[in-house]
């Protein structure tokens, strides 16, 4: 058998995210809840809701991405798994990236599938929502990557949830701006490309930041 650290880390993170049950249900509940509260605050005029619906979903997606991230690296620090990973030859940045993507698959990807349904409830036309799913997917992954950096930075902090939000939310701004723009422009405009670029930027920078933060946490 050849050593396969990244594949094993991916498998371990998938079952870790899945095992608690909360990994998949909690963000879905949070996403739905946030989106459902909006009609109560802004009134029930169908025209208004349909207009702001996609934007509301972006907000709900950003918040839902934050709810499960607290335990992603904190558990590794507490149970000693981080010590074991830190002594492997494989870079801790790659392990952290693998873990984040695995957690996104369990906790983030289901939200993309829910978006058209919630959009429909807010009165957004279905045909508008389907292309938007690509944007929500790119945006969700970006949120998880920056959220992962915040989670790694606060791995040693008790009740880090709020701190994670404080650190991560400013990094969400570009993805939210281009994401919302891309909904009105569709695939013809440049916003979707800028959204893709911000995802690529996060993919390039976040792993190194997570690695550095985790090395510091392991000390």
């Amino acid at each position: 058998m050849t050593p396969s650290p990244l594949f094993s880390a991916f498998r371990q993170a998938l079952s870790e995210a899945w095992a608690s049950g909360a990994g998949i249900l909690l963000p879905m509940g949070f996403f739905t809840g946030t989106a459902m509260l909006v009609p109560f605050t802004l009134g029930d005029e169908a025209e208004t809701l349909a207009k702001i619906g996609p934007g509301v979903l972006w907000l709900a997606l950003a918040l839902a991405a934050l709810v499960t991230l607290e335990r992603v690296f904190q558990a590794d620090l507490q149970d000693g798994a981080l010590d074991l990973w830190s002594q492997e030859e494989t870079s801790i940045s790659l392990i952290a990236l693998t873990k984040t993507v695995a957690h996104w698959l369990i906790s983030g990807a289901p939200l993309i599938l829910m978006a058209p349904v919630l959009g429909r409830l807010l009165g957004v036309p279905f045909e508008e929502m389907v292309p938007a799913m690509l944007a929500y997917g790119l945006g969700g992954l970006t949120f998880f990557l920056w959220g992962g950096v915040a989670a790694a930075l606060s791995a040693g902090v008790a009740r880090a949830g709020l701190l994670i939000a404080l650190i991560a939310i400013p990094f969400f701004v570009p993805a939210i701006i281009f994401g919302t723009l891309s909904l009105s422009e569709g695939f013809d405009g440049s916003a979707i490309l800028f959204l893709g670029a911000s995802t690529l930027f996060a993919l390039g920078v976040a792993p190194a930041a997570m690695g550095a933060a985790l090395r510091l946490a392991a000390e």
């Binding site: 058998m1 050593p3 870790e16 558990a75 798994a81 010590d83 002594q87």
Partner: protein, 193 residues
Amino acid sequence: MSETPLIQGTQLGAVRGERILFRDISVSARAGDLILLRGANGSGKTTLLRQLAGLSPPQAGQVARTQAHHWIGHTNGLKAHETPRSHLDHWARVWGSQADIPAILKDMGLKKPSEVPSGMLSAGQKRRTALARLKLIERKLWLLDEPFNALDTDGQAQLAEMIEAHRADGGAVIAALHGHAPVESSHEVMIKP
């Protein structure tokens, strides 16, 4: 026996806050060695071991390692959802080990709880699971932090045997230990400021 040390830490030092935890400590381990790190609570045994493992950068001195080592820390490295079986399967995959895992589990007295999530295991069973990693793949150097903690008498005797067998095989062990040592050491390092 080879004369090149498997690990060599020279003039290591650590600072905690504004206090010098320890300084000028040199440790090296050659094949067949069992080196015990001794000292009172809070003297820096774990800190020194983490410096040797490369987990913490030494604040003074340097560490030279020649190859990968095994690490048993005071946290066992088990995830809450993992069972002893899945924990060993996982690290066997990471390391590319072909070890017979059911046999290892039986050997370590973990046959019965092999499918129990670690959240429901006793401290001793978790420690045995962590120690079972030592059998997954051969690594010359073992770094152990209070390895006898939480083990019952049988478990302690078994670990002592594992350490002896490993030394006879040309391996070396560095262990931080505060209490009675059920094993004969080749050298003790006393840690004090």
